[in-house]
Symmetry: D3
Amino acid sequence: MSRHDGRNFNELREVKIEPNYLMHPEGSVLIQVGNTKVICTATIEDKVPGFLRGQGKGWITAEYSMLPRATAERTQRDASRGKINGRTMEIQRLIGRALRSIVDLEAIGEKTVWIDCDVIQADGGTRTASITGAFVALTQAISKIHAEKPYNKFPIIDYLAATSVGFIDVVGAVLDLDYIEDSKANVDMNLVMTGSGRFVEIQGTGEEATFSRNDLNELLDLGEKGISELIELQKEVLGDVANLVAMLSK
Amino acid sequence: MSRHDGRNFNELREVKIEPNYLMHPEGSVLIQVGNTKVICTATIEDKVPGFLRGQGKGWITAEYSMLPRATAERTQRDASRGKINGRTMEIQRLIGRALRSIVDLEAIGEKTVWIDCDVIQADGGTRTASITGAFVALTQAISKIHAEKPYNKFPIIDYLAATSVGFIDVVGAVLDLDYIEDSKANVDMNLVMTGSGRFVEIQGTGEEATFSRNDLNELLDLGEKGISELIELQKEVLGDVANLVAMLSK
Amino acid sequence: MSRHDGRNFNELREVKIEPNYLMHPEGSVLIQVGNTKVICTATIEDKVPGFLRGQGKGWITAEYSMLPRATAERTQRDASRGKINGRTMEIQRLIGRALRSIVDLEAIGEKTVWIDCDVIQADGGTRTASITGAFVALTQAISKIHAEKPYNKFPIIDYLAATSVGFIDVVGAVLDLDYIEDSKANVDMNLVMTGSGRFVEIQGTGEEATFSRNDLNELLDLGEKGISELIELQKEVLGDVANLVAMLSK
Amino acid sequence: MSRHDGRNFNELREVKIEPNYLMHPEGSVLIQVGNTKVICTATIEDKVPGFLRGQGKGWITAEYSMLPRATAERTQRDASRGKINGRTMEIQRLIGRALRSIVDLEAIGEKTVWIDCDVIQADGGTRTASITGAFVALTQAISKIHAEKPYNKFPIIDYLAATSVGFIDVVGAVLDLDYIEDSKANVDMNLVMTGSGRFVEIQGTGEEATFSRNDLNELLDLGEKGISELIELQKEVLGDVANLVAMLSK
Amino acid sequence: MSRHDGRNFNELREVKIEPNYLMHPEGSVLIQVGNTKVICTATIEDKVPGFLRGQGKGWITAEYSMLPRATAERTQRDASRGKINGRTMEIQRLIGRALRSIVDLEAIGEKTVWIDCDVIQADGGTRTASITGAFVALTQAISKIHAEKPYNKFPIIDYLAATSVGFIDVVGAVLDLDYIEDSKANVDMNLVMTGSGRFVEIQGTGEEATFSRNDLNELLDLGEKGISELIELQKEVLGDVANLVAMLSK
Amino acid sequence: MSRHDGRNFNELREVKIEPNYLMHPEGSVLIQVGNTKVICTATIEDKVPGFLRGQGKGWITAEYSMLPRATAERTQRDASRGKINGRTMEIQRLIGRALRSIVDLEAIGEKTVWIDCDVIQADGGTRTASITGAFVALTQAISKIHAEKPYNKFPIIDYLAATSVGFIDVVGAVLDLDYIEDSKANVDMNLVMTGSGRFVEIQGTGEEATFSRNDLNELLDLGEKGISELIELQKEVLGDVANLVAMLSK
């Protein structure tokens, strides 16, 4: 049984990453994964949160939001509701944590990198697209600083990308679920991995369902394939900058 | 003395309006006015606010926001601060009010049109670009409904566009201020006008300055010129739909 | 066709300004414009907001509120709703901006003047009454400081007052609209002007209506007349203090 | 040792109650107790809170607020802070509870009376002045309804007034503390009593101090005297309406 | 007529105080008054609120909360509603004020004691149980500091406990009301008293009812009896530490 | 290298579950996992959230909170901060999702089960203890309904428990991390599994670290062992009720 959009079970949607998308931020991309479109920016601020002050260490934090009409039905703005919803909180904590895993925070020094991921159009996989895009924006921002005043050690120590995998009735295990697939999946798993093939985050969830250890292994295999392809694309987009990471991740 | 970007005192920046920019909304555009870029969407909801219920009349309301890095310095999100700031409130009230002035709310019936203007990149004039773009998104959304089930009377009764004018030291009166001009202007005026050359809104402000009646007239002349050019562009972008408005605005 | 309360089209309501209305504030008035009653106070604080610190410059900021039963129907308090509504925000920004236009902020030094305008009874024109009254409270507060320790330059450089003008069906252009007139006006314009006859703020709005350039000129003529009368009254109320402004506004 | 303002230990400040102070509310007074000035209004709303719906019973609820410059130092507005502070909550709960004790809520029917007490100028005793003034506003509002469509039973069944008593070093027990006395009192007690001399509320507090049973009795004697004088004044102000309460409180 | 649970009119429910209930806080108890169970903790923080800074004086502040299912019906969490309700505010202000009355704040030095009272199970009298339990937690925390580095003067200068008294139809005046009694009481009074028999707080309320001076005296007699029994129990629980208070309260 | 508390790498802390801990809720336990103590309650409400209305299906939702002194340092209450923090949101979403996976929501009918997990004392693993305890509270609440009016199908279809696993320097992979271990772990994984050995949730995170596929497998083996032991304990605690689940999970 094939997928509704004709893709193979182990095939990513078409992915495009447009670097330097905005004029103001130190790093910015528009990432498109199929119809999902996210603007990711990286801002470098010259101070750290209170709990890190005076430790000579940097920090990376992320914020995530959707335009009200990124979705089929209009979503009320968090600002209008006066509070951030739980899903948004979960996603922005995930993005920040994932990026911190491949950055040497001591090398950054006492600076905070703000990652902003704003979903312009949503068709499933917005959090994983955000991570994949944010890695490029972050690397560009850090490399700009490096160009002006080289770090002793380039702070980004490995590549990082993310995708989703899941189980769909009849079809089985699939890679990179779009919205239609996501809304009928029994098991949904987000994977974040590095260029060296190690896990940063595994978030597998059976919503009103469960899965076996074998199911898990099948999903992990799919995810590894997808993420290695995403990292190839990141290298292309980054061009020469990619080498700064490559040299230091060995 | 010429302007910092070489424009004539009575010259708009380059304006582009990309219609149908997003897949989900009933109407959507990306409007670019120089380096200012705003995504405007129109969503039609099948109910009205409490104060209008049962009156057979529709409503138009607008929300406005900026991405954190639409600006040179990162701006904190309203959602993170837990409240909407005063400038945002002012702007979204202005956009809603302006659009309501050229719509026959009885003709719409008991529906609410939500206008969302999200600034992707800011370089001055975001509120006027929002109004100019939102008019196109609104007209597209209304014309889609009209195509499915024609209105007795097309609800949009005139064109609508907006621009800014102001006084800058040495240079004098100028049309369509960008951020650099805006931040050193003594007098700043936003004008919203219709296709038939009538005013909808005049908001002239001397921030720590004042202006004479002659100054005012000079600014209004400039604004009228700019708005008529913007409306020509809207007509081009709207194509056949433009006629629906044109016929009914007579 | 005459006005519902028998006034001439170009006639203000009866205006009274009671100075030193409260015992605690540095400056305070009760202003009555017809049945509209507003308590305006000026408080001088010995610091400035963050964005001005260290620049040797002062600041003026305003807050505006209505008692719940200032209006015919009880209005819910902002404090109970947990947020300030958009109309309130707009008005308090306008009041602050207007007063800053006639104050030499360098002359004030690193101080903030808080203006509080609390509407006790509302019958249209509360924002313009607030500005007219706040000017007197502000001038009193500044003159008290001047009496103790004279400024090199008296910081208030011109008079300031505000009124509304608008178009009403059948009646036509009128000055100083009360609530009944305001709620049926097609065009509503608030004007803030100085003692030397210059504009500080023009906010003209057609709510579900538009207006021509000729209409605009007619409204401006009316407004200029009303404001010059209000400024005469301010001078009377201020007595000797009025001269401090008069001498320095030349 | 006499009091700082020359009053006798058992003497109230001068009290004035100006009825029908505002044009819109069903009942409204300006009460002055020395320099303390409070506007009290009563609004009758044609529904009850959820927990009372369908029980044929009414409700009375109160809100209390101070203008920012009612006090010597400017107080930040609750609306600006985004929440109501604890002291305000305590006071508004007290006012509502006190008034409910002398009203037959069944007789009112399914209506809510909103009491708003807004302190224009504060010099100690604002909560007790609010109760004393609110009783008059409430009685006026209820009597207006009674005049249009007489109740079977007049819903207000007794008079109600409040005052404060306390202990001050050297001076001893005193009635009706002003701000200077209040801020140095060891024991502070608010009393709410009825026209028939019964207690509705006793709130006695030793802030960083304690008091004996004898002290308590001395304070209660003083309070009873003061409240009976306040009730005499209420009767005068209410005029004929006072008889409606008097007849029914027997 | 006897009470629904068979108690005498002047009889407390069974009271247990389990000291050192939690591993982390400096002081902590589980207090049980009949079925009412409250965890009280004392935390000592090395700074004071802004208004006390630099005065060499300490502060005591309290927070109070209920688990959602401490009650028969589930109560929504304050955190979910986004604000603290009025009853909670009133109670936590009472607890803090009561404890401050028996502490020498100068002796504490520039420290804040945070008292947290969390109701695990509610059956009436949660605020008075909180005060009685919090006194023990506070004394333990202070005595721990005293053991490490003795105070010149032990800061706790007297014992402190609280109970409720009230009038119930048919039964009459009763001590220590449980939930069933509380919900049908005409008059409800909370008393806070010291080991030396002095009042700290009297809060007597007739909710839709009133009470006479004789009624008041009857209630005070009952309360004094109950509180002296509670203080005996506190002394037992505190053991040797009790002497530190006893010696200094003379 | 052994663990700091002497446990084997694959050994749980001592676990106790005290059922029927509180008098009011339909289901309630105190669960202790070493020094971590959580009160879990289940409340059954007779309606469902808006998005489920009219579908004949139930819902399970969870709230999680910590007492301020559950932790070594006092944590500010969410209610005082006016918003729920991100960690809390994440945890309560996890608890709700996990419980929904082993409940037949159709069988419950249009009811909502509210799960409240309140941490009394925290020493690592509070979210997994919450899930393990909440399962027991939920099962008790459901079985009480079943006893009164038997379900056609018992709605709980499998057991459910949770634990944490992780990697610690020198020690290696360990089961059930306490706070000391948790704060120095490189990889931290929470596992939620059913009585039939299937996964409900895998949340593995490298905070500033990564892990290999082999590492993952080692952790999963440990987790499976721990969870099967927790489920044995749940069965003991549930007694006869356990059979209701057991029969239906086949």
